[in-house]
Symmetry: C2
Subunit: 412 residues, 2 copies
């Protein structure tokens, strides 16, 4: 039944090992049959961690666990399961989280607080922790530095392809590596729930600095994509830094404004964007991928609100599906965003084609040109709202009958 996304990569990127990171996955039978559904990643002592977690007010038990423990900024393990999200599971969910962390700590000889957890899948179904804890000894023994692709596969739910990306950067002349894996956009899936992304580097960066790098990178990547505007109870982005590059002469970075971080910051943002776009490109039922660019807003934040209003509008998204250059719906979405826009200075472009300017259709615009442009699989829609200097980019996909079929015909 599941068609592979038309935007799936022809060849998966090969991720190099990162010293201090080992991974293993297995079929734990949590909900799925005949596929891996449990990931263990272990980290050398001294690994730092930063995280960005869902803003949902009904966040899952593992999200709450991460929120509690991120404060101390040190990590020895990451355990992720697919199949159930352990969200809205009350005291049972908390107990399952504690049992998993304790079991992992026992297997590795570390503290439970050094174990980070994520779960993705059905909401409301209690997680049987023993399905995980029973396998921890085996997984610990099986951990290898080459396990990234297996890890990316084990965390999939209705994703149609595993999401992997890698980058390098220099810190003070020493090359460091950044690897990342991710899965499923937002609440895109039939009662599945989660965008998960895990990043790994051998750079040596103190927790607070790591956090200061991760948050803006997430804002311009994972927080700038949308499939259906539905925010998961379980969204989790974690960045682990083993510090093993110090063996090759890399410095340990303790200050956020250290200029030696420039290349790393850029590589991190690039890695996040790569993974975030892969997530959109696996949106359910999609046939079009669109970049929404907003300029001329009162602030960057205002620009993002407007861009998201366009990117989430069912009428804009169905127009994309129908290859309809329906710019009136873009005007509508700008208007409903609630941010300042100067109607009589508003302009719209499809790719390089000027569609509207000064608050009305452009003299040069021909409907056939717009219709031709819309036939492309990857689209860029630019809007200038004419009030200031704020800019933003957001990425989205179309809303198709296939999306409705996947989400309506499925029975939980």
């Amino acid at each position: 039944m599941t068609k592979i996304s038309p935007f799936a990569p022809a060849v998966l990127p090969a991720l190099p090992p990162i010293e201090g990171v080992k991974l293993a996955s297995c079929e734990a039978g949590i909900r799925y049959k005949g596929r891996t559904d449990l990931l263990l990643a272990t980290f050398d002592p001294g690994t730092t961690v930063a995280g960005v977690l869902t803003q949902s007010k009904t966040s899952s038990a593992p999200v709450e666990w991460c929120r509690t423990h991120l404060g101390h900024g040190m990590a020895r393990a990451l355990v992720v399961n697919s199949g159930t999200s352990n969200a809205f599971t009350g005291k049972l969910g908390e107990a399952a989280v504690k049992a998993t962390a304790q079991g992992t700590a026992d297997a590795l000889g570390c503290l439970p607080a050094d174990v980070y957890l994520a779960s993705t899948g059905v909401i409301g179904e209690p997680l049987k922790a023993e399905r995980i804890t029973d396998r921890l000894a085996e997984l610990t023994a099986a951990c290898v530095p080459e396990g990234f692709e297996g890890a990316a596969r084990a965390i999939m739910t209705t994703d149609t392809f595993p999401k992997l990306a890698t980058r390098t950067a220099e810190i003070d002349g020493v090359e460091v590596t950044l690897n990342g894996i991710a899965k499923g956009a937002g609440m895109i899936a039939p009662d599945m729930a989660t965008m998960l992304a895990f990043l790994f580097t051998d750079a040596a960066i103190e927790p607070k600095v790591l956090q200061s790098l991760l948050k803006p990178a997430a804002e311009r990547s994972f927080n700038s994509v949308t499939v259906d505007g539905d925010t998961s109870t379980s969204d989790t982005l974690l960045l682990f830094a083993t510090g093993t590059a110090t063996k090759r002469g890399a410095p340990r970075i303790g200050l956020a404004d250290d200029e030696r971080l420039a290349g790393f910051r850029e590589a991190l943002e690039d890695l996040c964007l790569d993974l975030a776009l892969q997530v959109v490109k696996d949106g359910e039922g999609l046939t079009k991928f669109a970049e929404i660019r907003v300029a001329g807003a009162e602030s960057d934040e205002a620009a993002k609100v407007i861009a998201k209003s366009i990117a989430n509008s069912p009428l804009v998204k169905t127009a994309l599906a129908g290859e309809d250059p329906n710019w009136g719906r873009i005007v509508m979405a700008v208007g409903k965003a609630g941010e300042r826009a100067e109607r009589d200075r508003l302009s719209i472009r499809f790719g390089d084609i000027l569609v509207a300017e000064n608050g009305q259709v452009a003299d040069s615009y021909r409907e056939e040109d717009g219709a031709d442009y819309m036939k492309q699989a990857e689209l860029v829609i630019s809007v200038d709202v004419g009030v200031g200097e704020g800019v933003s980019r957001v990425w989205t996909c179309d809303l198709t009958k296939e999306y409705v079929a996947i989400n309506a015909d499925y029975r939980s």
Copy 2:
């Protein structure tokens, strides 16, 4: 191609005349062929008016006209066309509005400022004012007190049935009548744009008092329904009060807190809700109609934000379409609303069936009961978020493949 909504009334309500109101409609050929598309309503001197207009930042030229002139609170005419919305039409749009108001004023012998305007249809296409002004003399002559059904039909775009409602109330022992007509929910339609509603009464109520009655009524009715979460550039609600009931002994009401308004206020809210629900029940492609009740929120406003988050969630709406009792998606929508909710005190009901309580699935809940309930055409979903006393109700419909087909397959 257009199927009549399954929720269309078997018999249209018969609206009685209201002294001081006359209506006429005609085929002006603005965009549609073979159907009426222009409405003129005229009012006796002394008629007061109140209005609630779209919050869109790209609102249409007629909306801007109404916003400018509502201040003085007096009305002699209403002119409405369907086919084009005269939104995002720049200076041409403003000129068309002025020409229409002037033409109407000339025909009736009143001031242009006493003429209220609304347009609904395609965005971005200039309105040819002469198509309207050429017909004003004829329409003025044709105006009759019985014209309500014809009026409701002339303002339709992709509506599948005309929306009419009537109520009576007593003011100081004298019966007054309230009539209303409405069309199309939000941005539901293929590049059409507008929810329009016009209310008429013979009560004698000063403009400021009328406004103080209309705003809360709109908040609990038109502002509490959603089809796709897309806000039109043209939403317009106007209430005209001729004051002719004074001839039968009704008082002229000049103070908002006049206790004699109690019955009128209730009838007005009831009329607005009737029309608003008719609008939802004509949502594109709908098969389910759902009332979302939120209780236990921090405030009524917070409850409404949560209710709208549920009512607009594509995943909740596709679950309704699929008759899937997918309460995990409701938890998700509560969480993403951003308002306070106590996860471990949250409860959910489908009709009378307790689905979840204390942050987890209820012991008594059986999935078969939920699935049976979802087969009904009209649904009530209740959520208590466990933090306060705030309550709200919002009405919505499902998201079907038909909705996508209507909005994607259409070419503008």
